[in-house]
């Protein structure tokens, strides 16, 4: 949840207060710059991406959900800007260069994810309720591990969910047994399953948490 100060700042920007807008830029621009610089090795381009991010934020500010953190929203925008920039750059390089050593044009992997506005809105509508429930369940799970100081379990779950590693790969990364990872994952899955069930969500929304042995 954002703090009250952030909500007030957004409220003032929505009212057209230019100084509050400057305050928001000053607060977030460096961290956004460093985010872009992780993938883009050109200072001027990084600055451009940061500025485009702020303009995108400003043009959508009326619909900004005050329950969201500004930082998460801005990082979400710049992530897309950076990915788009890298894909465009690769496409340009490919168009002016011969095929790689295997004879394949390198741009074949980039798939356009553009979509019609109506599809997007239908998707957003459907997502809201489900996302909130899963978000709350995951937050409870993470807080549970942190409050119990069980960081090894949090690390295992994060590798599986966030990086998409298998149980075996997770065990290898953390230097623990495969069976231990399976047990941690099983417990976490049941925790989320119970939370979703208690929230009254239909079982077809997140089948991975209802079919208890699907991912094990």
């Amino acid at each position: 949840m954002p703090n009250q100060e952030e909500q007030l700042l957004i409220g003032r920007i929505k009212e057209g207060n230019g100084d509050s807008w400057e305050q928001l830029i000053t607060r977030y621009e460096n961290r956004l710059y460093y985010y872009a610089a992780k993938r883009v090795n050109n200072q001027e381009t990084c600055e451009d991406l940061v500025q485009e991010t702020f303009l995108a934020f400003l043009s959508n500010i009326k619909t900004f959900n005050p329950d969201k953190k500004i930082q998460n929203y801005l990082f979400g925008i710049i992530k897309n800007k950076v990915v788009d920039f890298i894909r465009r750059k690769k496409a340009v390089t490919i168009n002016s260069a011969p095929a790689d050593s295997s004879g394949n044009p390198n741009d074949s992997v980039f798939i356009d994810s553009a979509q019609g506005a109506s599809t997007w809105y239908r998707g957003e509508e459907k997502k809201t309720l489900e996302n909130e429930a899963l978000l709350n369940g995951l937050s409870l799970l993470i807080n549970h591990y942190i409050s119990k100081n069980e960081y090894n379990k949090l690390m295992a779950i994060e590798l599986i969910f966030v990086l998409g590693l298998s149980n075996l790969e997770t065990a290898g990364k953390l230097g623990i047994k495969n069976t231990e990872v399976a047990s941690i994952f099983h417990w976490a899955k049941n925790f989320i399953h119970d939370y979703l069930q208690n929230s009254g969500l239909s079982s077809d929304i997140f089948p991975q948490f209802y079919e208890k042995d699907l991912l094990l």
Binding site: N30, L32, Y34, R39, Q51, N106, L154, S166
Partner: protein
């Protein structure tokens, strides 16, 4: 290493490091089946389907806050929390937390806010005018 759908999902979200990205892109070039899987995942996401990983990444659920990252930079947290943040920064490769840490480190080094370039000053000036016209 297996390329799971969850790993492709992390690839779409730009969560992976450069080495992993290159590995996946090479595999995608070589495998029409993998391209098809990626296409399906993108289509599902566009239609409102979502994965646990996508939600976790988008909401930054396990990211430490700025105060904690600052303490991490000074080694002022207990060992378990220090180890976890190191894991989150390096093994998970969270770019948002890395960016925050770089920002904090630069602030600590200079002892003040970064000096703005002329281009940045001009942007602030112009965008302030746009912001003031919102209502």
């Amino acid at each position: 290493m297996t390329i799971t759908n969850a790993l492709l999902d992390a690839y779409i979200d730009d969560q992976l490091n450069e080495q992993e990205i290159n590995r996946i892109e090479k595999a995608l070039r070589d495998s029409p089946e993998l391209q098809k899987r990626l296409e399906t995942i993108i289509k599902d996401r566009d239609q409102g389907e979502h994965s646990v990983g996508a939600i976790w990444r988008r909401e930054h659920l396990s990211c430490p806050n700025r105060e904690e990252l600052s303490s991490y930079g000074c080694s002022a947290l207990d060992k378990k929390r220090m180890d976890y943040i190191k894991f989150h920064l390096e093994m998970i490769g969270c770019k948002a937390c890395q960016a925050n840490l770089d920002d904090l480190t630069s602030l600590n080094a200079s002892g003040k806010e970064k000096k703005l370039s002329d281009k940045q000053k001009l942007f602030i000036k112009n965008s302030k005018i746009i912001a003031s016209r919102k209502e």
